[in-house]
């Protein structure tokens, strides 16, 4: 009746395994790991705020933005790596992320390209 197939109907050569058997989970070690991640994230936030107050005479806004976004990117890697388990994920997830990163780079490249793409005879004041 239904179009949905059960595991048996797929007749898969290898029967899928329960994910819980892959990584044994220990509550205490996770709590410690989470504590460290939280400390890193809070440290990164403090660092970003400090960087935003660097003296304007030595650090232009462009430099400050680069420093702050660099810290934010490191922060994002920690969150994605440890909290989303991206440091030990399946190949399929990395494939999806690989495609996503490619498209995002394309999106930003098009934006940067469009910045200097003015119609003919445009006068810039």
């Amino acid at each position: 009746m239904s179009e949905l197939k059960t595991a048996e109907q797929h007749n898969a050569p290898i029967v899928g395994h329960r994910e819980s058997h892959e990584h044994p989970v220990e509550f205490g070690s996770y709590l410690r790991r989470c504590g460290m991640v939280l400390a890193v994230v809070l440290g990164a936030v403090a660092l970003m705020i400090w960087a935003s107050y660097l003296p304007q005479d030595h650090f232009s806004w462009a430099k400050k933005i680069c420093i702050i976004l660099g810290i934010a990117t490191c922060n994002a890697f920690v969150v994605a790596g440890f909290l989303m388990h991206l440091i030990s994920e399946k190949k399929m997830v990395y494939t999806i992320l690989g495609f996503t990163v490619t498209f995002v780079i394309g999106l930003f490249a098009l934006t940067l390209y469009a910045m200097n793409d003015f119609p003919r005879n445009t006068v810039i004041h």
């Binding site: 898969a12 996770y30 934010a72 994002a76 909290l83 399929m92």
Partner: protein, 259 residues
């Protein structure tokens, strides 16, 4: 009828179906926010020098929200870990903490929105500009009262970070002297349009995530008794979404509050 691969990993993908689904969904979300971030880059780089606002946001509230969201990311992971070790009591505690953090975040965001919508820039007929928080604006009165200051040039309003301890006084302005009056809503300028669009979309994600978390904490917990492994997978999938929302904020905070 049984839905396949809700618990077991598919042999071809190595993932259970919901996990594959959430990663595909998150990929589309990256493109959604990526488009808005690229709009930010385009408008910011295209702005005239000195005409991009600095220090317009309440940094204290933004920092508190960042900490609250970071905490919620931890508690949502611990809720999943509690499910994995079959400790339902701890799961309920950590998930309730996540929900509480989400609601705190939204409340703080509403306070920030209120601050912006109550802040006015008033152009007077003599060329001066009054800028500040609206104190009194009754249609029956022939004046408005703000707590703020006068400036002679609009550029003085852009970089608030370089102007320390700006004196603010109560200013009463007769309506006959007002040439134009506008609050700091999304219609005010490009920066605020981006701020409200990006944070509004992010807040909607928080709200959506809160509804899912609330459901799993409340009526959805029945599944725990029937199939705890499947329930645990639901918590993992909702947690992945929540971490993504946290990741977006990790970039929104410096872009909108610090730079």
């Amino acid at each position: 009828m049984e839905i396949p691969y809700t618990v077991e990993a598919r042999p071809d993908t190595g993932l259970y179906n919901a996990k594959l689904g959430i990663w595909l969904f998150l990929a589309s979300e990256v493109m959604l926010f990526g488009g808005l971030f690229s709009a930010y880059v385009l408008l910011r780089v295209g702005a005239d020098p000195g005409m991009w606002p600095h220090g317009w946001q309440n940094l204290t509230l933004g920092t508190i929200n960042t900490i609250v969201l970071a905490l919620s990311a931890i508690t949502t992971l611990m809720a999943w870990v509690a499910c994995k070790v079959r400790d339902f009591g701890k799961f309920k505690f950590f998930h309730a903490c996540t929900l509480l953090c989400a609601l705190t975040f939204l409340c703080i965001k509403l306070v920030e929105y209120h601050e912006h919508l109550n802040h006015y820039e008033i152009h007077l007929t003599d060329g001066r500009i009054a800028d500040g928080d609206m104190e009194q604006n009754n249609a029956s009165d022939n004046f408005v009262t703000i707590k703020g200051r006068y400036v002679t040039d609009e550029t003085q309003l852009y970089d608030l970070r370089s102007q320390k301890d700006i004196p603010e006084n109560e200013i009463q302005i007769p309506r006959s002297q007002i040439a134009d009056m506008q609050n700091y809503g999304p219609w005010h300028n490009d920066y605020l349009a981006l701020y409200f669009t990006l944070t509004g979309l992010h807040a909607m994600h928080i709200l959506g995530g809160s509804i899912v978390i609330g459901y799993l904490w409340g009526p959805g917990r029945k599944l725990w008794k029937k199939d705890p492994e499947r329930f645990t997978n639901r918590i993992e999938v909702s947690g992945l979404f929540w971490h993504f929302v946290d990741l977006v904020w990790i970039f929104l905070f410096p872009v909108l509050y610090l730079t």
